[in-house]
Symmetry: D2
């Protein structure tokens, strides 16, 4: 637990002495609660830094049950003060106005919000709070009080991890090894096996990696994107990751491909940076390489195979025609070596991939859910929701594009390009946000089956 | 307005084009309000960055009346939504609990808080918001709505300028000139005339300067403290600032003197860092120079002369005995050249300075006000309130310590040392915070007149 | 003497103890000589670092006479070993070849060269040796032995300050104050009065400053050039230095003006960097601002007035016609306020300045000296020799261009532009180097008087 | 060939155009020679930078035979000018003195020295010259002319890589990956398998790595040393390299162990930094961790097994007694699995290891060679020569200390500690340098057999 060590180092000798004295008994939920109460009651700001550090250190050292006990205590006992709320309501109703509304706002704030702000003052406090939230996340579904606590974390993190505080850094082969180690660990799309493997994505002049950092988290990336410079639209991930390809001089590239985006901090769930990251990287690249003409992704379609399997099982589904069912049968058969089947060549294979392209386009632009805000339909596919929500356009659909075990299992080998065209991003974004309109190329429009045949593709939210 | 230029540079060409198109008409309060409404209604996060930047740039370029008009509009039209509050109260009262309380909390939040958070996403947004608050400050006394707006700024800044996000940097003669330029500009206690003058406080090995910075503000210091390393307790500011003194090797020093603390950002009024700064600098110095035995200030007594004059005018005052009135008469006489009189030597002068020391000690530890929180008395002197509130102890009182025009006018030449003793800081802080007890040395205790003779020194708050 | 302090800090405690023990007696030429002999006889490399540092520290602390005594001792007693030379000659003549030639080369090397190389191993040694050479320079004219010593310094410095070891840095208002302080101190062409004055040359986006640094000298610039970005050919220095001018956006500039070049280290006399500096800065600017079309200087003509006065005194001189003598009489008259006269407007003034332009062009391209290498004539004017030797072309001649006291006294207000055109630099350089041909624009060619009337303008070297 | 790319990037567009025009024909020894002549004849310094770069790039791109042809041409055709030497000898003999000696010195310098200095001006030139010397090294034994050329390289490198120009950097897990990659590649003593393996030597707080860098070589280390902090004298390398050991808090260490020193640049053969490196690291550690009491190595004994085998073969050898021969027989037997035998426990094993310790001590302190300078004997073992030459003391001799295949093969599992005691380093160094005295502990003195029995251990040089 490296932040633990670091926090300890930054605390004064006296602070450390004080802590170690109490350490033994302090690793229980009860003791943590007492520390929290002391911290909240403390009026002097400076001694509270040592106290905040003490609580975070004891928390980190406590066993799981005690940590969870403390989180429940935060959720239940550090909520809002009901008597104070009642009084504030009375005052507001007697004299409704800005001042009484503000008093009501403050009275209704859970006490733990102030506690979390005070904990954040400790050296290394921000990272410790991210880790604390990682303990909350698995519990929030089952326990309503912890869902409330989780919302408080999210609210504070959204403020602290404000886009204005983030810095974009290019990561390359001259970056510190301990940062690169984290990139290897956090890569979530196309696994990186080793430093040597990572080097292939960083060191060639046609491969770039950009990450957002927050000053309070020093060398912990928040999110990163991997970029390939190419002179053609990429149709498969293998060619992007191929270490033996000929390097392209950046000046000869006309296309920037975002082929992997990974969030790094589970504790930041619900606080989104991907949108900002892609757009800022587009700006950087446009400035440094003004000849680039296209910015697009090479993205997975993680929900496609599951949707396809569901349509195949459902004999009523209007999504599949009989001939399509037949073509697909081999790869949907139980126990089929799907990756091997998808890798085959020949006329049958071409027919299969053409079918897959048609159905994948259909899935992406017709299979929607109502669980979006304000009754506007949204695509089922999470990656599609992300890029379309950013204002990108669904541009190309590629078969045989990811024949890894995972690519075959989740997407039947399909990958797609979303195009980031700065001149239409805003328009697309608004049409999508307001009316659920999906921006797509003519190619995709032709591939996707018409809406009317597919009335039932919208899934209840 | 350098942040203006910087912000412009960080915005994309497209963003800039969009802005300049609207620039002409956009510098009115009405246009700013429209931009603010658009920003709040915007659901897509990324396009909101350009919109936030546009609003901040137009605001910075608008004439004063329009800026003030916009601030009033923020204060009045972007307050909480009363209908939403009423509904939230009804829901809460029907079912009091954490969830309805949280809904109430959110409903009662002024809409402008979210607006300010969105503005903060623009590059350079934090500094722009600090400057915006500088426009609010002169108006908040007279206009209640602007006081509410000001409170929102303070609340957000307290969260964003959380101590955990600040970094301590030592500033020296190898620091960037544009940072040093700001130190010259912001020094509030002992004026710095030029770079050559500043060099005397930075370059010698027995003079140090530390500042807090916030990552979103890059090279704008928030607060700084100047430190002299000495081998004796400093008794006058002249000897500290004397450029011709012999430099002391840091290894030979046993005392660190904090002789000037300056806040840099008016826009951060109410968000206090001084306490943290002094304590962290003490930690740094203890680590680097373990032989240091004393950490103390050489501080002004800004309210002393005014208080003394008031006592002298008040014939009933128990603070001054007749012989004291006589001794003080020359320096309190209208039109007296007080600095020259204080600089004199001789028996009379010694009597004068002894009297001043007695009365200064009395002023600091007996002259209190009730305006503190919870009915606990606090010293009248603002510098005393700051250091005693930090847990320091009033240690020595020096006459003839600051014979500058300002020192003579405000404090009759008096300066004092507050001692930061890490082992008793917490105890002193608590006694002061809870019960208003003032920590003082035996010397000060002996100098100050007894409480009973002085019942009337506590000033109503 | 800051390098002294720095060197002391880098030496170990033990090293320091050892030194201070000997310090008292060690500040004589005799003691320095003994240290030098010990250093040369020392076979172990590491202990020699402490010994080298000791010698340099003692040297720096010694009084001038002792330092000069030591330099003479270096010049005389640390020359080559004659017996060794004789033996090497005998061996070479017996068997002439590469190996015996190399032995002869080594035998003929003065012992002090190895001594200087060993001194350079001390921390801060390079700077200390530069300062040592500054002591040699004033003596080298009068004492032949010191001229030999000086040549050894120059030879070693030319190797250590090899262009491949230099780094170009842009200096701006964010540069460290102690570097800026040195820029102020070293500026040799257009004096800088203060940091505020310097800011005018660094902070505006149309003013740039570049310097060469050597890694062993850390923050000591070797040479720097000041650049103005303009949208026209600059005709006077006042408009360049004018702090109230409107800043030009760099993207709108088409011309880069090198208006001041200063060497910083006297100790590097004879080791030239100006040529490299200008060309590398041209490359930098071309890369960052590809729209720039012209790179030229605005240069002084330091020898013009003296030459003009000499021509005027010489009634035989063919350079001045009678009407020209008449026009020039007022400004050449003894006690004339030349700057005031040059600043006047009107027909007479125009006639004066037209005459000055003609004569200045004549001076620059016709007044030559034979002291160049291999009998090729070179311009009398040192600034002309520098830029023409770099391959630049004399482009424009401006009157009323520098009306400062110095500009009036040395150049009768004249300044000129030398053009750096990368496509013809090499050609110009070779024609100048081989045949003494001066590259000039048609304008200058027309202004300058024809060679034949001026047979006597070439000055014997 | 990364410096190739880098050099290309730093050269101007024009320079590149010029080069590529000539590239085709320029990769022959003949063309390289022509470029070298042109470079030497060039009087203008700036155009020579492009020319130098061109030569280095063409050289790097040329095939091996042409490169070797060029090197021979440098060795033969760019030697000294014999006519010039003869004239200088005549002048010197006519008038022997400093000036004529200097002229002789210059005349006898091979022309290639100036050529190499000019090549060093190109961006990346220093690294290119190091690589060029790597081509010379394998040829210098067989060809006398190339030995002369090699000596010129060594002479220039000794001047350019002067200790005063080197910087010490600590390398840790936050260092750039491309530097760490080079550490892995250059480690010469205890092989590093991967980044994960390297992390064990960098990341724990009780493991440190320091390297010397030269500013012209940016991120190319010259030499590095790996250090372990321990609380006992280390007796085997396994315990040092064990990744599962408990980390020691640096504050609890009393011993710093130098357990691996590796030179990185073959091209710097003969230019030694190890001595400086160890001593500067000792200084660093003493400053940062003042409680350290011991600085010693854990060093291999690479020549021990070969010597032992030679003694065993030589039946006359006085070094081995009959019982020793018997004890050693199993491990010296042909085809024996020496590592396995050395790893055994038990009484016989103890007897074996005791014998090995005795003989190893004897080998180190008695087996000497006369090939040292000035007839002073030196140890046969190269590692012993290095550390004893630095002034270290042979302190302990450990059996079973390195049971790797290499450790068993080269040293029969032995390792030793050399102690760096700053107070006696200089004394030891001088005794060793002057008289060949070997500093050793009483333990070693007792272990080593007496000199008299061993008259024949000194090997003719």
């Amino acid at each position: 637990m490296s932040f633990f060590t670091e926090m300890m180092q930054q605390i004064s000798d006296r602070g450390r002495a004080l802590m170690s004295a109490r350490r033994g008994e302090a690793r229980t939920a009860k003791a943590l609660q007492a520390l929290a109460e002391a911290l909240l009651s403390n009026r002097g700001e400076a001694s509270s830094v040592a106290r905040a550090a003490e609580l975070l250190i004891c928390y980190a050292a406590a066993p799981r049950e005690e940590r969870e006990g403390f989180l429940r205590c935060l959720a239940v006992d550090f909520g809002p003060d009901q008597a104070r709320i009642d009084a504030a309501i009375t005052a507001y109703q007697a004299n409704p106005g800005a001042t009484t509304a503000m008093a009501l706002h403050r009275a209704a704030e859970p006490r733990r919000q102030d506690l979390l702000r005070r904990l954040n003052r400790a050296p290394g406090g921000t990272l410790a709070l991210l880790r604390m939230r990682e303990d909350v996340l698995p519990l929030r579904r089952a326990e309503a009080a912890l869902a409330d606590l989780d919302a408080d974390f999210e609210h504070l993190f959204a403020s602290w991890f404000n886009r204005g505080f983030l810095t974009l850094r290019r990561i390359d082969w001259a970056s510190p090894a301990h940062v690169l180690e984290k990139i290897i660990q956090y890569e979530a799309v196309h696994r990186i096996e080793s430093f040597e493997d990572l080097k292939l994505r960083l060191a060639p002049s046609d491969r770039l990696l950009y990450a957002f950092f927050h000053p309070a988290l020093a060398d912990e990336p928040l999110i990163f994107v991997e970029v390939a410079l190419t002179d053609a639209i990429p149709q498969s991930i293998d060619r992007i990751l191929d270490g033996r390809r000929t390097e392209l001089a950046p000046a000869d590239a006309d296309t920037a491909v975002f082929y992997s985006i990974s969030n790094c901090q589970k504790g930041l769930a619900g606080v989104s940076f991907g949108n900002f990251l892609i757009k800022q990287v587009v700006e950087e690249l446009r400035r440094d390489l003004p000849q680039l003409r296209r910015f697009l992704t090479l993205s997975p379609v993680p929900g496609f195979a599951a949707w396809l399997e569901a349509q195949a099982r459902d004999e009523e589904s209007g999504a599949l025609e009989p001939t399509e069912r037949e073509v697909l049968a081999p790869i949907l058969a139980e126990g089929a070596d799907r990756a091997a089947l998808l890798a085959r060549d020949g006329t049958d294979a071409d027919k299969l991939h053409e079918t897959l392209r048609r159905l994948c386009a259909t899935y992406l632009v017709r299979a929607t859910t109502m669980r979006g805000e304000r009754g506007v339909p949204r695509p089922l596919d999470p990656v599609a929701r992300f890029h379309l929500g950013n204002g990108a356009r669904l541009e190309h659909v590629h078969a045989r594009a990811d024949l890894s075990a995972r690519g075959a299992a989740q997407a039947a080998g399909m990958m797609v390009n979303y195009l980031y065209d700065l001149d239409s991003i805003e328009r697309h974004h608004e049409a999508y946000a307001e009316r659920g309109e999906i921006a797509m190329s003519n190619e995709v429009r032709r591939l996707a089956k018409p809406q009317k045949a597919l009335r039932d593709l919208a899934v209840p939210g």
